[in-house]
Protein backbone atom coordinates (compact mmCIF):
# COMPACT_ATOMS: atom_id res chain seq x y z
CA UNK A 1 0.00 0.00 0.00
CA UNK A 2 2.82 2.41 0.79
CA UNK A 3 4.88 4.48 -1.57
CA UNK A 4 8.38 5.86 -1.12
CA UNK A 5 10.17 8.84 -2.68
CA UNK A 6 13.53 8.33 -4.31
CA UNK A 7 15.73 11.41 -4.86
CA UNK A 8 18.80 10.90 -6.99
CA UNK A 9 21.43 13.55 -7.67
CA UNK A 10 23.38 12.49 -10.74
CA UNK A 11 25.78 13.83 -13.35
CA UNK A 12 23.82 15.82 -15.94
CA UNK A 13 24.96 13.84 -18.98
CA UNK A 14 23.59 10.66 -17.39
CA UNK A 15 20.01 11.90 -17.32
CA UNK A 16 18.94 10.33 -20.61
CA UNK A 17 20.42 6.94 -19.69
CA UNK A 18 18.81 6.90 -16.23
CA UNK A 19 15.47 7.95 -17.66
CA UNK A 20 15.52 5.15 -20.26
CA UNK A 21 16.48 2.56 -17.65
CA UNK A 22 13.74 3.62 -15.24
CA UNK A 23 11.13 3.59 -17.97
CA UNK A 24 12.18 0.04 -18.85
CA UNK A 25 11.42 -1.24 -15.33
CA UNK A 26 7.97 0.27 -15.38
CA UNK A 27 8.36 3.65 -13.73
CA UNK A 28 5.99 5.91 -15.57
CA UNK A 29 6.78 9.38 -14.30
CA UNK A 30 9.60 11.43 -12.88
CA UNK A 31 10.50 15.02 -12.06
CA UNK A 32 13.82 16.55 -12.98
CA UNK A 33 15.49 19.71 -11.73
CA UNK A 34 18.83 21.31 -12.51
CA UNK A 35 20.79 21.83 -9.32
CA UNK A 36 24.28 22.70 -8.20
CA UNK A 37 26.24 21.00 -5.53
CA UNK A 38 29.38 19.37 -4.33
CA UNK A 39 30.32 16.44 -2.22
CA UNK A 40 33.78 15.08 -1.87
CA UNK A 41 34.29 16.05 -5.50
CA UNK A 42 35.56 19.58 -5.07
CA UNK A 43 35.03 22.35 -7.63
CA UNK A 44 37.53 23.54 -10.19
CA UNK A 45 39.46 26.70 -11.04
CA UNK A 46 38.64 29.03 -13.91
CA UNK A 47 40.33 32.21 -15.11
CA UNK A 48 38.78 35.44 -16.41
CA UNK A 49 40.82 38.38 -17.68
CA UNK A 50 43.84 37.37 -15.70
CA UNK A 51 42.23 36.55 -12.37
CA UNK A 52 41.57 33.06 -11.10
CA UNK A 53 38.47 32.02 -9.24
CA UNK A 54 37.10 28.71 -7.98
CA UNK A 55 33.79 27.31 -9.05
CA UNK A 56 32.76 25.35 -5.96
CA UNK A 57 29.35 24.23 -7.09
CA UNK A 58 29.11 21.80 -9.95
CA UNK A 59 26.01 21.41 -12.08
CA UNK A 60 24.05 18.24 -11.35
CA UNK A 61 20.61 16.93 -12.14
CA UNK A 62 18.15 15.81 -9.45
CA UNK A 63 15.59 13.15 -10.32
CA UNK A 64 12.60 12.67 -8.05
CA UNK A 65 10.36 9.63 -8.38
CA UNK A 66 7.64 8.23 -6.11
CA UNK A 67 7.26 4.44 -6.41
CA UNK A 68 5.46 1.60 -4.64
CA UNK A 69 7.51 -0.07 -1.89
CA UNK A 70 7.96 -3.25 -3.88
CA UNK A 71 9.72 -1.40 -6.67
CA UNK A 72 12.16 0.59 -4.51
CA UNK A 73 15.07 -1.87 -4.46
CA UNK A 74 14.86 -2.45 -8.20
CA UNK A 75 14.65 1.30 -8.87
CA UNK A 76 17.74 1.98 -6.77
CA UNK A 77 19.73 -0.73 -8.53
CA UNK A 78 18.61 0.58 -11.91
CA UNK A 79 19.65 4.14 -11.11
CA UNK A 80 22.99 3.07 -9.74
CA UNK A 81 23.77 0.94 -12.79
CA UNK A 82 22.79 3.67 -15.26
CA UNK A 83 24.32 6.63 -13.43
CA UNK A 84 27.61 5.16 -12.31
CA UNK A 85 30.81 6.13 -14.10
CA UNK A 86 33.17 4.99 -11.36
CA UNK A 87 34.71 8.46 -11.23
CA UNK A 88 34.29 10.92 -8.38
CA UNK A 89 31.09 13.00 -8.49
CA UNK A 90 28.65 10.24 -9.55
CA UNK A 91 26.10 11.46 -7.03
CA UNK A 92 23.82 10.13 -4.32
CA UNK A 93 20.42 8.52 -3.84
CA UNK A 94 18.11 9.22 -0.91
CA UNK A 95 14.98 7.35 0.11
CA UNK A 96 12.24 9.25 1.85
CA UNK A 97 8.91 8.14 3.35
CA UNK A 98 5.81 9.58 1.70
CA UNK A 99 2.62 10.38 3.61
CA UNK A 100 0.41 10.18 0.58
CA UNK A 101 0.27 10.64 -3.18
CA UNK A 102 -2.64 11.98 -5.27
CA UNK A 103 -3.22 11.97 -9.03
CA UNK A 104 -4.73 15.37 -9.75
CA UNK A 105 -6.80 14.40 -12.79
CA UNK A 106 -8.57 11.40 -11.28
CA UNK A 107 -8.02 12.10 -7.57
CA UNK A 108 -6.76 8.55 -7.04
CA UNK A 109 -4.64 8.08 -3.95
CA UNK A 110 -1.74 5.95 -2.74
CA UNK A 111 -0.37 3.21 -4.99
CA UNK A 112 -2.97 3.96 -7.65
CA UNK A 113 -1.60 7.51 -7.93
CA UNK A 114 1.89 6.36 -9.01
Amino acid sequence: MAVKKIEAVIKPFKLEEVKEALTEIGIEGLTVSEVKGFGRQKGHTEIYRGSEYTVDFLPKVKIEIVVVDTLVEKAIATIVKAAKTGKIGDGKIFILPVEDAIRIRTEEKGEKAV
Partner: protein
Protein backbone atom coordinates in the same frame (compact mmCIF):
# COMPACT_ATOMS: atom_id res chain seq x y z
CA UNK B 1 52.33 38.60 -11.58
CA UNK B 2 53.61 42.19 -11.95
CA UNK B 3 57.05 40.69 -12.50
CA UNK B 4 56.17 39.08 -15.73
CA UNK B 5 54.08 42.04 -16.80
CA UNK B 6 57.30 44.05 -16.61
CA UNK B 7 59.33 41.39 -18.41
CA UNK B 8 56.66 41.14 -20.97
CA UNK B 9 56.38 44.84 -21.70
CA UNK B 10 60.16 45.02 -22.03
CA UNK B 11 60.15 42.07 -24.43
CA UNK B 12 57.44 43.79 -26.34
CA UNK B 13 59.29 47.07 -26.51
CA UNK B 14 62.36 45.24 -27.80
CA UNK B 15 60.22 43.43 -30.33
CA UNK B 16 58.61 46.66 -31.45
CA UNK B 17 61.97 48.38 -31.79
CA UNK B 18 63.22 45.48 -33.87
CA UNK B 19 60.21 45.63 -36.13
CA UNK B 20 60.65 49.37 -36.46
CA UNK B 21 64.28 48.94 -37.42
CA UNK B 22 63.37 46.28 -39.95
CA UNK B 23 60.88 48.73 -41.24
CA UNK B 24 63.14 51.77 -41.45
CA UNK B 25 63.83 53.40 -44.82
CA UNK B 26 67.23 51.71 -44.90
CA UNK B 27 65.67 48.28 -44.91
CA UNK B 28 62.17 48.88 -46.19
CA UNK B 29 60.76 46.45 -48.69
CA UNK B 30 57.80 48.68 -49.30
CA UNK B 31 57.81 52.45 -49.67
CA UNK B 32 55.86 54.54 -47.22
CA UNK B 33 52.58 55.67 -48.69
CA UNK B 34 53.22 58.55 -51.04
CA UNK B 35 49.59 58.87 -51.94
CA UNK B 36 48.78 60.77 -48.75
CA UNK B 37 51.47 63.40 -49.32
CA UNK B 38 50.46 63.82 -52.94
CA UNK B 39 46.82 64.28 -52.06
CA UNK B 40 47.65 66.88 -49.42
CA UNK B 41 49.85 68.84 -51.84
CA UNK B 42 47.35 68.74 -54.67
CA UNK B 43 44.47 70.69 -53.08
CA UNK B 44 42.97 71.03 -56.54
CA UNK B 45 41.85 74.59 -57.10
CA UNK B 46 39.48 73.35 -59.80
CA UNK B 47 36.55 71.58 -58.09
CA UNK B 48 35.61 67.98 -58.79
CA UNK B 49 33.17 67.03 -61.50
CA UNK B 50 29.53 66.66 -60.49
CA UNK B 51 29.93 62.90 -60.76
CA UNK B 52 33.02 62.86 -58.57
CA UNK B 53 31.33 65.04 -55.98
CA UNK B 54 28.37 62.67 -55.89
CA UNK B 55 30.67 59.67 -55.51
CA UNK B 56 32.63 61.38 -52.74
CA UNK B 57 29.52 62.46 -50.91
CA UNK B 58 27.91 59.05 -51.25
CA UNK B 59 30.91 57.32 -49.75
CA UNK B 60 30.93 59.83 -46.89
CA UNK B 61 27.28 59.16 -46.18
CA UNK B 62 27.89 55.42 -46.19
CA UNK B 63 30.81 56.00 -43.85
CA UNK B 64 28.56 58.03 -41.54
CA UNK B 65 26.11 55.14 -41.46
CA UNK B 66 28.91 52.69 -40.62
CA UNK B 67 30.12 54.86 -37.74
CA UNK B 68 26.51 55.19 -36.58
CA UNK B 69 26.29 51.40 -36.56
CA UNK B 70 29.17 51.31 -34.06
CA UNK B 71 26.72 52.38 -31.37
CA UNK B 72 25.19 48.94 -31.68
CA UNK B 73 28.65 47.45 -31.44
CA UNK B 74 29.34 49.24 -28.19
CA UNK B 75 25.94 48.25 -26.84
CA UNK B 76 26.65 44.58 -27.54
CA UNK B 77 30.19 44.58 -26.16
CA UNK B 78 29.15 46.31 -22.95
CA UNK B 79 26.09 44.10 -22.54
CA UNK B 80 28.07 40.93 -23.08
CA UNK B 81 30.82 41.88 -20.64
CA UNK B 82 28.51 42.80 -17.76
CA UNK B 83 25.94 40.96 -15.70
CA UNK B 84 22.40 40.37 -16.94
CA UNK B 85 20.90 42.21 -13.98
CA UNK B 86 22.29 45.46 -15.42
CA UNK B 87 21.56 44.87 -19.10
CA UNK B 88 18.59 47.23 -19.45
CA UNK B 89 20.68 49.98 -17.89
CA UNK B 90 23.58 49.43 -20.30
CA UNK B 91 21.28 49.34 -23.30
CA UNK B 92 19.46 52.45 -22.15
CA UNK B 93 22.68 54.42 -21.87
CA UNK B 94 23.87 53.17 -25.24
CA UNK B 95 20.57 54.11 -26.84
CA UNK B 96 20.37 57.57 -25.37
CA UNK B 97 23.96 58.61 -25.96
CA UNK B 98 23.71 58.65 -29.78
CA UNK B 99 20.48 60.59 -29.40
CA UNK B 100 22.08 63.13 -27.09
CA UNK B 101 25.15 63.24 -29.31
CA UNK B 102 23.28 64.05 -32.50
CA UNK B 103 21.03 66.62 -30.89
CA UNK B 104 23.74 68.50 -29.01
CA UNK B 105 26.07 68.34 -32.01
CA UNK B 106 23.35 69.99 -34.08
CA UNK B 107 22.57 72.50 -31.36
CA UNK B 108 26.14 73.60 -30.60
CA UNK B 109 28.73 70.84 -30.93
CA UNK B 110 29.36 71.11 -34.66
CA UNK B 111 29.92 74.83 -34.43
CA UNK B 112 32.16 74.49 -31.38
CA UNK B 113 34.28 71.92 -33.19
CA UNK B 114 34.48 73.83 -36.44
CA UNK B 115 34.22 77.45 -35.40
CA UNK B 116 36.23 78.68 -38.39
CA UNK B 117 39.13 80.20 -36.48
CA UNK B 118 40.05 83.42 -38.25
CA UNK B 119 43.65 83.85 -37.28
CA UNK B 120 43.99 87.08 -39.22
CA UNK B 121 41.22 88.51 -37.06
CA UNK B 122 43.08 87.42 -33.93
CA UNK B 123 41.49 84.05 -33.15
CA UNK B 124 43.38 82.15 -30.45
CA UNK B 125 42.81 78.64 -31.76
CA UNK B 126 41.64 77.41 -28.34
CA UNK B 127 37.96 78.28 -28.35
CA UNK B 128 35.56 79.49 -30.98
CA UNK B 129 31.87 79.22 -31.67
CA UNK B 130 30.18 79.53 -35.04
CA UNK B 131 26.68 79.94 -33.66
CA UNK B 132 23.76 77.84 -32.52
CA UNK B 133 22.06 75.31 -34.75
CA UNK B 134 22.87 73.84 -38.13
CA UNK B 135 21.86 75.56 -41.32
CA UNK B 136 23.45 76.21 -44.65
CA UNK B 137 23.05 78.13 -47.87
CA UNK B 138 22.87 77.05 -51.51
CA UNK B 139 26.62 76.61 -51.64
CA UNK B 140 26.52 74.21 -48.71
CA UNK B 141 25.13 71.40 -50.80
CA UNK B 142 27.62 71.74 -53.63
CA UNK B 143 31.29 70.99 -54.05
CA UNK B 144 31.90 74.67 -53.36
CA UNK B 145 31.48 73.78 -49.68
CA UNK B 146 33.95 70.92 -49.95
CA UNK B 147 35.14 68.63 -52.75
CA UNK B 148 34.25 65.60 -50.66
CA UNK B 149 30.87 66.25 -49.11
CA UNK B 150 28.00 68.61 -48.50
CA UNK B 151 27.51 70.62 -45.33
CA UNK B 152 24.91 68.12 -44.15
CA UNK B 153 27.12 65.12 -44.78
CA UNK B 154 29.90 66.92 -42.95
CA UNK B 155 27.63 67.44 -39.97
CA UNK B 156 26.32 63.89 -39.93
CA UNK B 157 29.66 62.17 -40.26
CA UNK B 158 31.15 64.26 -37.47
CA UNK B 159 28.08 63.91 -35.26
CA UNK B 160 28.50 60.15 -35.32
CA UNK B 161 32.06 60.52 -34.07
CA UNK B 162 30.90 62.65 -31.16
CA UNK B 163 28.49 59.98 -29.96
CA UNK B 164 31.23 57.34 -30.27
CA UNK B 165 33.60 59.29 -28.05
CA UNK B 166 31.16 59.56 -25.18
CA UNK B 167 29.80 56.07 -25.31
CA UNK B 168 33.28 54.82 -24.44
CA UNK B 169 32.75 56.16 -20.93
CA UNK B 170 29.59 54.15 -20.29
CA UNK B 171 31.48 50.85 -20.31
CA UNK B 172 33.97 51.84 -17.64
CA UNK B 173 31.33 53.13 -15.23
CA UNK B 174 28.90 50.29 -15.82
CA UNK B 175 27.01 48.37 -13.14
CA UNK B 176 27.27 51.02 -10.42
CA UNK B 177 26.81 54.55 -11.76
CA UNK B 178 23.58 56.39 -11.16
CA UNK B 179 21.73 56.82 -14.43
CA UNK B 180 20.70 60.44 -13.94
CA UNK B 181 24.22 61.50 -12.98
CA UNK B 182 25.69 59.67 -15.93
CA UNK B 183 23.28 61.25 -18.40
CA UNK B 184 24.19 64.70 -17.12
CA UNK B 185 27.88 63.89 -17.46
CA UNK B 186 27.31 62.55 -20.97
CA UNK B 187 25.39 65.62 -21.98
CA UNK B 188 28.08 68.03 -20.82
CA UNK B 189 30.92 65.90 -22.19
CA UNK B 190 29.45 65.48 -25.66
CA UNK B 191 27.98 68.97 -25.97
CA UNK B 192 31.01 70.92 -24.84
CA UNK B 193 34.17 69.04 -23.87
CA UNK B 194 34.42 66.81 -26.95
CA UNK B 195 33.88 69.53 -29.57
CA UNK B 196 36.01 72.18 -27.86
CA UNK B 197 38.87 69.70 -27.62
CA UNK B 198 38.25 68.57 -31.18
CA UNK B 199 38.45 72.11 -32.50
CA UNK B 200 42.12 72.29 -31.51
CA UNK B 201 42.99 69.87 -34.31
CA UNK B 202 40.20 69.11 -36.78
CA UNK B 203 38.68 72.55 -36.33
CA UNK B 204 42.01 74.05 -37.40
CA UNK B 205 42.82 75.16 -33.88
CA UNK B 206 46.22 75.64 -32.26
CA UNK B 207 47.31 72.01 -32.47
CA UNK B 208 46.75 72.01 -36.20
CA UNK B 209 48.90 75.13 -36.49
CA UNK B 210 51.99 74.03 -34.63
CA UNK B 211 55.18 74.25 -36.64
CA UNK B 212 54.85 70.51 -37.13
CA UNK B 213 51.12 70.06 -36.83
CA UNK B 214 49.80 67.48 -34.41
CA UNK B 215 48.40 64.59 -36.47
CA UNK B 216 45.35 62.48 -35.72
CA UNK B 217 43.93 60.99 -38.88
CA UNK B 218 40.66 59.61 -37.57
CA UNK B 219 40.68 60.18 -33.82
CA UNK B 220 42.97 58.00 -31.71
CA UNK B 221 43.27 61.09 -29.55
CA UNK B 222 40.29 63.21 -30.47
CA UNK B 223 37.77 60.44 -30.06
CA UNK B 224 39.27 57.46 -28.30
CA UNK B 225 41.51 59.07 -25.73
CA UNK B 226 38.89 61.78 -25.09
CA UNK B 227 36.50 58.98 -24.25
CA UNK B 228 39.25 57.13 -22.42
CA UNK B 229 40.12 60.03 -20.12
CA UNK B 230 36.46 60.38 -19.24
CA UNK B 231 36.30 56.66 -18.56
CA UNK B 232 39.35 56.80 -16.30
CA UNK B 233 38.00 59.77 -14.37
CA UNK B 234 34.67 58.04 -13.92
CA UNK B 235 36.10 54.74 -12.79
CA UNK B 236 38.38 56.52 -10.33
CA UNK B 237 35.71 58.69 -8.72
CA UNK B 238 33.10 55.92 -8.71
CA UNK B 239 35.22 53.25 -7.21
CA UNK B 240 35.06 49.55 -8.01
CA UNK B 241 31.99 47.36 -8.11
CA UNK B 242 31.01 45.70 -4.86
CA UNK B 243 32.82 42.46 -4.38
CA UNK B 244 35.41 43.08 -7.07
CA UNK B 245 38.41 43.59 -4.81
CA UNK B 246 38.11 41.61 -1.59
CA UNK B 247 40.86 41.03 0.97
CA UNK B 248 43.53 42.13 -1.48
CA UNK B 249 42.29 39.64 -4.09
CA UNK B 250 40.74 40.33 -7.46
CA UNK B 251 37.42 38.53 -7.78
CA UNK B 252 36.37 38.24 -11.40
CA UNK B 253 32.88 39.40 -12.25
CA UNK B 254 31.99 37.47 -15.35
CA UNK B 255 30.26 38.96 -18.35
CA UNK B 256 26.98 37.25 -19.01
CA UNK B 257 27.16 36.81 -22.77
CA UNK B 258 30.30 36.01 -24.69
CA UNK B 259 28.31 35.73 -27.95
CA UNK B 260 27.04 39.30 -27.56
CA UNK B 261 30.50 40.60 -26.73
CA UNK B 262 31.87 38.93 -29.86
CA UNK B 263 29.05 40.21 -32.04
CA UNK B 264 29.78 43.68 -30.68
CA UNK B 265 33.46 43.58 -31.54
CA UNK B 266 32.81 42.51 -35.12
CA UNK B 267 30.18 45.21 -35.52
CA UNK B 268 32.76 47.71 -34.27
CA UNK B 269 35.37 46.38 -36.72
CA UNK B 270 32.85 46.78 -39.52
CA UNK B 271 32.02 50.29 -38.32
CA UNK B 272 35.71 51.15 -38.45
CA UNK B 273 35.57 50.76 -42.24
CA UNK B 274 33.57 53.95 -42.07
CA UNK B 275 35.42 55.45 -39.12
CA UNK B 276 38.81 55.34 -40.85
CA UNK B 277 37.66 55.00 -44.44
CA UNK B 278 35.47 58.06 -44.09
CA UNK B 279 38.20 60.08 -42.42
CA UNK B 280 39.84 60.33 -45.82
CA UNK B 281 37.00 62.82 -46.34
CA UNK B 282 36.50 61.74 -49.94
CA UNK B 283 36.16 58.58 -52.01
CA UNK B 284 39.73 58.84 -53.24
CA UNK B 285 40.33 55.27 -54.37
CA UNK B 286 43.99 55.11 -53.43
CA UNK B 287 43.68 56.65 -49.98
CA UNK B 288 40.47 54.96 -48.94
CA UNK B 289 41.57 51.50 -50.02
CA UNK B 290 44.97 51.93 -48.39
CA UNK B 291 43.36 53.11 -45.16
CA UNK B 292 40.92 50.22 -45.03
CA UNK B 293 43.69 47.69 -45.52
CA UNK B 294 45.92 49.16 -42.80
CA UNK B 295 42.95 49.37 -40.46
CA UNK B 296 42.13 45.69 -40.81
CA UNK B 297 45.75 44.63 -40.61
CA UNK B 298 46.14 46.43 -37.30
CA UNK B 299 42.92 44.91 -36.00
CA UNK B 300 44.05 41.45 -36.96
CA UNK B 301 47.50 41.94 -35.45
CA UNK B 302 45.95 43.24 -32.24
CA UNK B 303 43.69 40.23 -31.95
CA UNK B 304 46.46 37.73 -32.60
CA UNK B 305 48.83 39.51 -30.26
CA UNK B 306 46.45 39.69 -27.31
CA UNK B 307 45.22 36.14 -27.88
CA UNK B 308 48.72 34.65 -28.05
CA UNK B 309 49.96 36.61 -25.10
CA UNK B 310 47.02 35.61 -22.94
CA UNK B 311 47.55 32.00 -24.02
CA UNK B 312 51.18 32.06 -23.01
CA UNK B 313 50.94 34.06 -19.81
CA UNK B 314 47.58 32.86 -18.50
CA UNK B 315 48.04 29.30 -19.77
CA UNK B 316 44.67 29.44 -21.52
CA UNK B 317 43.60 31.76 -24.38
CA UNK B 318 41.07 34.30 -23.09
CA UNK B 319 38.30 35.24 -25.52
CA UNK B 320 37.68 38.63 -23.95
CA UNK B 321 41.38 39.46 -24.30
CA UNK B 322 41.36 38.50 -27.96
CA UNK B 323 38.31 40.68 -28.50
CA UNK B 324 39.89 43.59 -26.63
CA UNK B 325 43.02 43.01 -28.71
CA UNK B 326 41.14 43.49 -31.98
CA UNK B 327 39.69 46.74 -30.69
CA UNK B 328 43.10 47.81 -29.40
CA UNK B 329 44.60 47.36 -32.86
CA UNK B 330 41.78 49.36 -34.38
CA UNK B 331 42.20 52.21 -31.92
CA UNK B 332 45.96 52.13 -32.38
CA UNK B 333 45.88 52.50 -36.17
CA UNK B 334 43.27 55.24 -36.08
CA UNK B 335 45.76 58.11 -35.64
CA UNK B 336 47.83 57.23 -38.67
CA UNK B 337 45.96 54.77 -40.87
CA UNK B 338 46.86 56.78 -43.94
CA UNK B 339 50.54 57.03 -43.00
CA UNK B 340 51.44 53.42 -42.46
CA UNK B 341 52.73 50.52 -44.50
CA UNK B 342 51.47 47.01 -43.95
CA UNK B 343 54.47 46.26 -41.73
CA UNK B 344 53.92 49.49 -39.76
CA UNK B 345 50.28 48.58 -39.23
CA UNK B 346 51.17 45.09 -38.10
CA UNK B 347 53.57 46.48 -35.53
CA UNK B 348 50.99 48.95 -34.30
CA UNK B 349 48.47 46.17 -33.90
CA UNK B 350 50.90 43.77 -32.22
CA UNK B 351 51.98 46.41 -29.71
CA UNK B 352 48.38 47.49 -29.08
CA UNK B 353 47.38 43.91 -28.35
CA UNK B 354 50.18 43.58 -25.84
CA UNK B 355 49.37 46.95 -24.31
CA UNK B 356 45.71 46.17 -23.85
CA UNK B 357 46.53 42.84 -22.21
CA UNK B 358 48.97 44.43 -19.78
CA UNK B 359 46.68 47.37 -19.07
CA UNK B 360 43.71 45.20 -18.20
CA UNK B 361 45.81 43.32 -15.69
CA UNK B 362 47.48 46.49 -14.43
CA UNK B 363 44.28 48.43 -13.81
CA UNK B 364 42.89 45.50 -11.87
CA UNK B 365 46.05 45.39 -9.83
CA UNK B 366 45.74 49.06 -8.84
CA UNK B 367 42.06 48.53 -8.16
CA UNK B 368 40.58 50.58 -10.98
CA UNK B 369 37.55 48.54 -11.95
CA UNK B 370 36.78 48.68 -15.67
CA UNK B 371 34.16 46.06 -16.53
CA UNK B 372 34.75 46.13 -20.28
CA UNK B 373 38.38 47.25 -20.59
CA UNK B 374 37.39 50.62 -22.06
CA UNK B 375 40.30 52.47 -20.48
CA UNK B 376 42.79 49.84 -21.67
CA UNK B 377 41.44 49.81 -25.21
CA UNK B 378 40.63 53.46 -25.82
CA UNK B 379 42.89 55.49 -23.56
CA UNK B 380 46.07 53.43 -23.49
CA UNK B 381 45.92 52.37 -27.12
CA UNK B 382 44.63 55.77 -28.21
CA UNK B 383 47.79 57.29 -26.75
CA UNK B 384 49.91 54.54 -28.32
CA UNK B 385 48.35 55.10 -31.75
CA UNK B 386 48.92 58.83 -31.48
CA UNK B 387 52.56 58.51 -30.49
CA UNK B 388 53.10 55.82 -33.12
CA UNK B 389 52.59 58.45 -35.83
CA UNK B 390 55.80 60.08 -34.62
CA UNK B 391 57.60 56.77 -34.20
CA UNK B 392 56.85 54.85 -37.38
CA UNK B 393 55.31 55.46 -40.77
CA UNK B 394 55.57 58.32 -43.21
CA UNK B 395 55.56 61.06 -40.58
CA UNK B 396 58.01 59.45 -38.18
CA UNK B 397 60.56 61.78 -36.68
CA UNK B 398 61.42 63.67 -33.52
CA UNK B 399 59.59 66.90 -34.44
CA UNK B 400 56.40 64.97 -35.17
CA UNK B 401 56.83 62.91 -32.04
CA UNK B 402 57.08 66.08 -29.98
CA UNK B 403 53.90 67.41 -31.55
CA UNK B 404 52.18 64.11 -30.84
CA UNK B 405 53.25 64.29 -27.20
CA UNK B 406 52.01 67.86 -27.04
CA UNK B 407 48.61 66.79 -28.28
CA UNK B 408 48.39 63.81 -25.96
CA UNK B 409 49.29 66.02 -23.02
CA UNK B 410 46.89 68.81 -23.97
CA UNK B 411 43.96 66.46 -24.41
CA UNK B 412 44.94 64.57 -21.29
CA UNK B 413 44.92 67.61 -19.10
CA UNK B 414 41.79 69.15 -20.57
CA UNK B 415 39.66 66.01 -20.73
CA UNK B 416 40.80 64.29 -17.58
CA UNK B 417 40.46 67.41 -15.47
CA UNK B 418 37.07 68.38 -16.94
CA UNK B 419 35.75 64.88 -16.46
CA UNK B 420 37.07 64.74 -12.91
CA UNK B 421 35.42 68.05 -12.11
CA UNK B 422 32.09 67.03 -13.60
CA UNK B 423 32.08 63.69 -11.82
CA UNK B 424 33.14 65.23 -8.52
CA UNK B 425 30.44 67.90 -8.69
CA UNK B 426 27.88 65.23 -9.50
CA UNK B 427 29.13 63.07 -6.65
CA UNK B 428 28.85 65.92 -4.17
CA UNK B 429 25.50 67.23 -5.35
CA UNK B 430 23.27 64.42 -6.53
CA UNK B 431 25.44 61.41 -5.84
CA UNK B 432 27.25 59.40 -8.44
CA UNK B 433 26.72 55.84 -7.33
CA UNK B 434 23.67 53.70 -6.67
CA UNK B 435 23.12 52.28 -3.20
CA UNK B 436 24.75 49.01 -2.27
CA UNK B 437 21.32 47.39 -2.12
CA UNK B 438 20.49 48.52 -5.63
CA UNK B 439 23.86 47.47 -6.98
CA UNK B 440 23.37 43.97 -5.58
CA UNK B 441 19.79 43.66 -6.82
CA UNK B 442 20.76 45.07 -10.23
CA UNK B 443 20.35 48.47 -11.86
CA UNK B 444 17.64 47.13 -14.16
CA UNK B 445 15.24 46.85 -11.26
CA UNK B 446 16.66 49.77 -9.29
CA UNK B 447 16.93 52.39 -12.03
CA UNK B 448 14.43 51.13 -14.59
CA UNK B 449 11.97 48.89 -12.81
CA UNK B 450 12.31 46.32 -15.58
CA UNK B 451 14.34 43.25 -16.42
CA UNK B 452 16.23 42.41 -19.57
CA UNK B 453 15.47 38.69 -19.48
CA UNK B 454 12.17 38.27 -17.62
CA UNK B 455 11.48 34.97 -19.38
CA UNK B 456 14.73 33.29 -18.56
CA UNK B 457 15.32 31.38 -15.39
CA UNK B 458 18.91 30.80 -14.42
CA UNK B 459 20.14 27.76 -16.30
CA UNK B 460 23.22 25.89 -15.32
CA UNK B 461 25.44 23.92 -17.65
CA UNK B 462 23.92 20.58 -18.59
Amino acid sequence: MSNWIKKFVVALAVGAMTCTLLDSPAMAQEAAPVAAEAAEAAEAPAGPSAEMFTVNNTWMMVAAALVFFMNLGFACVETGMTRSKNTVNILFKNSLIPCLGILTYAWCGFNLMYPGFDYDAGANGWFGFAGWGITTNAEGITSAYNAGYTYWTDFLFQAMFAATAVTIVSGAVAERIKLSSFMIFAFIYVAFIYPIAGSWKWGNGWLNNLEVPFYDFAGSTLVHSVGGWGALAGALILGPRLGKYVDGKIKPILGHSMPLATIGVFILWLGWFGFNGGSVLSADPGLVSLTLVMTSIAAAAGGVSAALISWIILKKPDLTMALNGILAGLVGITAGADQMTAMNSTVIGLVAGALVFSSVLLFDKIKIDDPVGAISVHLVCGIWGTLAVGLIGAKAGIPQLISQFTGVLAYGVFCFVSALVIFLVLKVTMGLRVSAEEEIGGLDIGEHGQEAYPDFSPVSKV
